[in-house]
Subunit: 217 residues, 2 copies
DNA sequence: CGTTCCATTGAGATGTGTCAATTCAAGTGG
DNA sequence: CCACTTGAATTGACACATCTCAATGGAACG
């Protein structure tokens, strides 16, 4: 957690955190409608969250990488409104929410941090809303690639060459597009010398053009 | 606030709340990029929130009615990522966030409530994501009407006959549709004996059919 | 009672979806 | 190590929901 605490406070926090979770591909971390108990921090790997509507339609709501927190969807109602699944082998920390709440009453820094985490999820979700509502297929894909690139850079990994841990179908679902459209747009970007794509491997050749396409201008 | 506090705690909360805000149509409560200072509770009227992308596209992100809280979009970064505007004459309460945080450290109930409020916004935004991504124009409109109907009912107002405080353009923007499509779909629902629409006045004639159409089944 | 904004309606254009066929990648078991 | 199977990704042809453009009608307001 990127948060400055006094050693004594750090100890109390670490006592609460569960370091248990080792995940393999397809492992479910929690299921939609499960009782909400904890937030989770990704330590290694990638987690996908998705919700299913009453009539069976699925929506991927997010991808989470090491250092990022997921599980906030359960805070509102006491039940998770998404399911969370591992996309590859990795591990997560469990942050039991009730204990975090108690702890945060005596550690203002922690309380503030928790509010921020929830707030950031709101901002992200609203960005996704805008993306889905007002942007073309190319712009959506470009925006996702930029987002991934930025996040890999934050983890001090290559921001121009990386592996997509999710399938085309996950990407399409997340962006409100079909697999076919994702494939076609990636193909087009490749012809435009913006990307080099080899299955899950992506190399960004022209990040400026990609940013322009993302409508980030 | 629907929250059980001891009288003494209630007093402390009320000392923090600003009852100031009287709003007229088009009044801005806060602007995108303003420094985040407070959440707001609608007392009367209706508030619309929307964000503008760097390249000028606008996305309506929410409508808020009496009893509902808005302004959570500022929590993540310390700046509002939306603007908030009054759609009609009304009033709001200001809830200075820093003071609320301090207060909530000593009132667990309040802390929990604040987390829940943020959590509910997350859930709502994700529902909107699904709506935009996976549902047809009819389903989107039906879902909005059901949502409005439900919320009016909560406020003990008629759930079958109400006034839309927002324009067709706002509705369309929120749902990722054009004004024309909104108009056509409303017309179609009227022909199908599901609604009676007269400008901003709506009467729901067949709520079951409407729910079916919303994909709520 | 004109002006202006908002809503409706029609006709035609288009981006993305649907359906179908093919190729490619990754296991799996003999 | 090689078929064989299975699921993922690509590519093409066509369909369609919604958008765009344009004209008209109606409500609100000074």
């Amino acid at each position: 957690m990127p948060i400055a605490l006094r050693p004594e406070e750090m100890v109390r926090l670490e006592q609460v955190v569960q370091r248990s979770g080792l995940n393999y591909r397809q492992d479910i971390v929690y299921r939609q409608d499960d009782t909400f108990g904890a937030l989770y921090a990704v330590r290694l790997g990638c987690i996908k969250t998705y919700r299913t509507t009453e009539d069976g339609r699925e929506q991927v709501t997010g991808f989470y990488f090491p250092g990022e927190i997921f599980g906030m969807d359960g805070v509102g109602s006491g039940r998770y409104t998404n399911s969370a699944v591992a996309l590859e082998t990795g591990s997560t920390c469990e942050l039991p929410f009730e204990q975090m709440e108690k702890l945060s009453a005596t550690i203002p820094q922690l309380q503030h941090h928790l509010f921020r985490i929830l707030g950031k999820e709101i901002t992200q979700d609203q960005q996704l809303v805008t993306l889905l509502s007002k942007h073309t297929a190319e712009e959506r894909l470009a925006a996702l690639l930029i987002s991934l690139s930025t996040r890999f850079a934050e983890r001090k990994q290559s921001s121009l060459r990386f592996r997509l841990p999710m399938s085309r179908s996950d990407i399409g679902n997340y962006l409100g597009l079909t697999v076919e459209t994702v494939s076609r747009v990636l193909g087009k970007m490749q012809k435009g010398e913006i990307l080099r794509v080899d299955n899950k491997e992506v190399e960004i050749l022209d990040i400026d053009k990609l940013k322009t396409q993302a409508g980030i201008k």
